[in-house]
Symmetry: C2
Subunit: 226 residues, 2 copies
DNA sequence: AGACTTTTGTGATATCTATCACATTTTTCT
DNA sequence: AGAAAAATGTGATAGATATCACAAAAGTCT
């Protein structure tokens, strides 16, 4: 296992900034950096969970097989930890993680990660904070998915891409229509219809994957009321 | 603030079993035990989050206002921690917690809880494990809610009550029809129709809130396939 | 460049569940 | 015990979205 220089890494996590030089060294000795192309699998569902993954750069989707079809659980943007719940909470990976664009990730052995949790309370605390904030985010996200109709569900996610992922009202969607359907729990035909309707109402402008939000205020209203 | 004797408490959490006598004493000095009747509010949404709650005995529901109606996020049975994500992850309580039967809870000041996290890695680790397992549970629960139709959604929850809460195929539902509708995201009329259909098919026998699962295998099949 | 595969858009129809209304039953309060 | 309120069950109808089919457009590979 190659030795990564975590101390000098400019993309390390907020949590690891709490670690001493010796702790960073321990981390580096048990850490491997890997590059991924779009579509490649970073972590696979139903395999043994032996590593914590830290996403240095890129964008990924967390997916799981549901009763009827694949479900996109969440989309995460670097920098962030991936697979923490499934590695610490179970022996088997409960979901897969797929790169949505070129990405770079570091794999850390679970034993080393647990050791760092024990010897650095500040590190442990930051990780716990992240878990707590993630849970609150999941509650909000799923309640909106469950209670809104499909216009509201699509609007919510378009706003998420704009505000949280790209920081812009104009961007290339990282998902095809079928994947968007997996994200908002509908069919790909319905996604097409919604994009057509939003375009006709001058709420968005879309050409293939390139999208521009024309009436963000209206999207916010649709997102809120469903 | 009265001094609770946490050291001698027979209902303390697995996590606190890692604490030394001095740490338990610190906990006890900043801990208040309160009893609740069914329907009473243990933690209220949109109030300041200043306490961690440990449920010693009883059963509770976590609820939040959604775009259309109240959503039951989760039902939790003692012994367990409540409100961890919302107290550590935000300054405001993101959801309410209501007793579904007579319950006893201990309120711990967040500052003391954080202190214990810092001084006891084993305690911290157990709390983190709990957060991770909870997140996995939420993923499974919400994916089934999102993808199954209403028969599957009701079946899943009846099995949850039977297997995880009551450990019996015969029990009193802790929720009325409207609350069950809040749990599985449907209308109270639909809940009535489903109970009627399941009764007609000899899958369950229900009289008011008293229910007996007659064909658990069938419920499992419906839960799986929706 | 062209063939092949994948993705997308739209029309038509079917299915599922919400909503509304109302009556009945059960529970709560005095 | 009786009145009032809340909860429940059922019927009828409306609305939302899935499904199926098919054609067209876009992307990939050789």
């Amino acid at each position: 296992m190659t030795n990564e220089n975590c101390a000098s890494c400019l993309l390390k996590s907020k949590a690891t900034k709490n670690l001493k030089a010796s702790e960073l060294n321990l981390l580096g000795e048990n850490c491997v950096q890997v590059s991924f192309d779009k579509g490649e699998t970073i972590l696979k569902q139903n395999t043994l969970s032996t590593n914590i993954v830290y996403l240095k750069t890129g964008l990924v989707k967390l997916i799981a097989d549901g009763p009827k079809r694949t479900q996109i659980l969440k989309i995460k943007k670097a920098p962030c930890y991936l697979g923490l719940p499934t590695t610490m909470g179970d022996k088997i990976n409960n979901y897969s993680i797929i790169a949505l664009e070129k990405s770079v990730a570091c794999y850390v052995e679970i034993k080393v990660f647990k050791e760092l949790l024990k010897i650095s309370p500040e590190f442990s605390y930051e990780i716990m904070l992240d878990l707590c904030q993630n849970e609150l985010f999941l509650y909000k996200r799923f309640v909106k998915l469950l209670q809104n109709q499909i216009y509201g569900r699509l609007a919510t996610n378009l706003l998420f891409f704009s505000n949280e992922i790209y920081g812009s009202d104009e961007f290339d969607l990282p998902l095809n229509r079928n994947e968007i359907a997996d994200l908002i729990c509908t069919s790909r035909e319905t996604v097409s219809r919604l994009f057509t309707d939003f375009s006709k109402d001058n709420i968005i402008k879309i050409e293939g994957k390139h999208i521009k939000l024309l009436n963000k205020r209206k999207l916010e209203e649709i997102s809120k009321n469903g």
